[in-house]
Symmetry: C2
Subunit: 110 residues, 2 copies
DNA sequence: TTTATATATTGCAATATTACGATATACTTC
DNA sequence: GAAGTATATCGTAATATTGCAATATATAAA
């Protein structure tokens, strides 16, 4: 098959999975980390920063954008990309809740 | 191709990507959320909780285990699965750092 | 020891992902 | 308008993922 049965899961589960999947590739982690490192949105040189071809990076950027992890806006000749704070904070919140829940538990585990 | 060029990225980036990729599927999100919901490790009934076949779930569990997100231990006839707190906390930390860094920035974005 | 129960593995078909060369698009500058 | 620069899209090959039926394995119970 190869076809994820999204219809069996909640919207929340599906949209979360899309975001995490987008970060589930080292090149895309690297892109996000680069965008964090430079202190503003970056126009242009992402391609020069990574050891992948221009079409491949363009594809990864598209996926990050679709998942809502980055935003892009046309800036003359180039395109400006920056991190979408809101999505990062959502993910932070999600794992924070999990951590908190886990801390509150007995250690009755295996 | 279809072959991720892991060698071009740092170990940290690669291992993080593996963990996030493991959560990048709604079924695996659902499994983790179920393990959170029940207040202890669960022996057995994960298969009954999800609308997927037993082999498929077994495969997803394997992937979660490989990524270090869950732990499993044999408990007589069944197998006990529970969340690996440490990994969750790692992810929490990662996104917390990102959130913090983003908060400290000027809003000089696009 | 046979039978039942729980989970893993194998094998396979359908689909998705990754990567890149070639090419298209779009804006800038000359 | 022509040439240059930056990014996107198309097409395609290689590999990975998803899902399940069939089967294997392993323990428990009878």
């Amino acid at each position: 098959m190869g076809l994820t049965k999204t219809e069996h899961f909640s919207t929340a589960q599906n949209t979360l999975a899309v975001k995490l999947k987008a970060l589930g590739h080292p090149a895309r982690v690297a892109i996000i980390e680069y965008l964090m490192e430079v202190n503003t949105c970056i126009c242009g040189d992402i391609v020069n920063e990574l050891p992948l071809s221009q079409p491949t990076i363009s594809q990864h950027l598209k996926e990050l954008k679709n998942a809502g992890l980055i935003k892009g806006s046309i800036e003359g000749n180039a395109i400006c990309y920056c991190i979408n704070d809101e999505t990062i904070r959502e993910l932070h919140q999600y794992f924070q809740n999990m951590s908190a829940t886990l801390s509150g538990k007995q250690d009755t585990c295996c």
